[in-house]
Amino acid sequence: MKTSVAPHAVTLTAIAALVVFALANGLNPVLLTVSITVAATPLLLAALGEMVVEKSGVLNLGVEGMMIIGAIAGFATAVETGSPMIGLIAAAAAGAALSLVFGFLTQVLLSNQVATGLALTLFGLGLAALLGQSYAGLKPPSFPHLDIPLVSDIPVLGPILFAHDLLVYITALILLGTAWFLYRTRAGLILRAVGENHDAAHALGYEVIRIRLAAIAFGGACAGLGGAGLSLVRVPQWTEGMTAGAGWIALAIVVFGSWRPGRVALGAFLFGGVTILQLNLQAANLTALWLLVLGFLLLATHVTVRGLTTGSMHRSMLPLWAATLASAAWALAAPVSIQTQYLSMTPYICTIIVLVVMSADRLKANLNAPASLGRVFFRTG
């Protein structure tokens, strides 16, 4: 089959259009990308952890609780020891420890996973508030910024790829490591097998409970790291309830990413992107309708590129391009001021829309979901 340059041309044109639009409105695409990366990092960490947990067949709704415990543990340790790195380790350890409470209750005592996960969130929020009482208003040691020599000086690519804080690189490593582990190693295959059918895995002699506990601990450690990313990197300070729903969004991202590392990463960036973009649109005095235009543009480009690669055009392609143009015309013609409440809602509305779209194609969604997700495993024999 002849490969065509057309798909790449479409992608590049779409990116070029975005860059031109940003520059024309005084937005710096490079700085925007960097900000979005920073905003996406904690979400990505928590979502990756939860993805592994769910791949092993366990649904842990306590991500929010583990994140905030990580946030305070990391913050307190960094303040006491003066080392943000020890803070990160403490955050991961605290998240893992809390998740093992969940693991013990659900795996050993066979409690209901949904109820236990919710309880874990409430418990984590309360415990963090208690632990953090004497840490409000303190300043943590500043987090190391890792500019990789030489390559970080490359224009455009340098700042986007090679001049972040350490946590971004750690997250990238965890992302690659998780993908490699799940799909390229025997242990990963076993973990997925446990998630697909725990009875069969048990019959084959695999230690279902032990494997699941390990996955739960990994998920807790990742959530803890994500929390520390909030309290040590994004806003270096501790405040009660500072995760503000990030854990729930991480849970949504796992579904959005249909339990695949690459798509989970995409979901984290989309979500971080919406949060950052709505602030930037405000500051640049642009209407929030441009978010709608952006959404249509991304979808239309995706459908077109896929159509060009496979050789058959999807029927939604033309309507999507029409919607892109129509919304752009709307945004240009009526720069209406939108109530700030709606702006703050945008990330959550996007999550809901995505979840609806995902579940509309039931067959496809179910194909990827681990078959034993959330089911209780009774050990027999």
Partner: protein, 359 residues
Amino acid sequence: MMKRRTLLAGAALAVALSTNPVLADGHEPLKVGFIYVGPVGDFGWSYEHDQGRQALEAHFGDKVETTYLESIPEGPDAERAIRQLAQSGHDLIFTTSFGYMNPTMKVAQQFPDVKFEHATGYQRAENVSTYSGRFYEGRTVLGHIAGKMTESNIVGYIGSFPIPEVVRGINAAYLAAAKVNPDVEFKIVWANTWFDPAKEGDAAKQLIDQGADVILQHTDSPAAMTIAEENGIYAFGQASDMMQFGPNSRLSSIIDNWAPYYIERVQAVMDGTWESTDTWAGIGEGMTKIGEFKNMPEDLAAEAGALRDAIGAGEIHPFTGPINKQDGSPWLAEGETADDATLLGMNFYVEGITGDLPN
């Protein structure tokens, strides 16, 4: 028999307690309650109200007993919290955020014997007073400094909600900044919250990315100051001094000084002279204070100090004509000053500010 007597005595005591013999003999402590919108450790708005509460305890000693409830969201939960204070025998309750206005009015109607003081609102009743600082006077001083200090001519402004209080601050700061620097541009971001450090920090970061080198905020946490310090730009403390969060970044601050007012009002209740009043006090009365001038040239500090004193003495009004509204229609004629009613309901930008005011 014995039992019944004890029971009766207990009931009598309960009645006596609930009707609250207000300090006729000076031995019964006056119970004063506070409702805060953020944690007392926010180092901003709620922190300063709590400083006022502590000043009450220091001033009156065991003649008062204070209680506070922190991080109470504005909304239905606020009503429950206020009622809880009223029911538990508090004589005077300070509700310290704009969004507590309707809940305060509602609970006040049900507890006519309890006195209420609502900060920054405009609804009053027999037993509800309102009080607020003329923070916009401080904004004028800050705007003057911002206009002089900015090199990019872009000043970032983090708003909370588009209510008159906040809009007034933006206008006052802009007028003062534009007066000393006609090229100055304000970039305004609405965080849509009083207190969310992650969001406030993000907003500050995005403003810096878009070229702002001085940031003003009307949200409660020092997150923006922390980000400003990290990025080597300037910012101002809001509600509280916030010096410790930006030793190299903080230029000055608006400090809310509630203690004298709180002491005066508690004294009034003790003396039985408390009446429903409307207090709106500024730099002159000492309710709005301007923090020490730092990280700026000495002549600018002197200028800002002179401006502060002139406003305090009533020689300069922050809103003195000629001023047009954003759409170009005239608002104040040459030499005319704004009346309080217009200021209290301010829902428009002045000429020169770009962007639409959200409704």
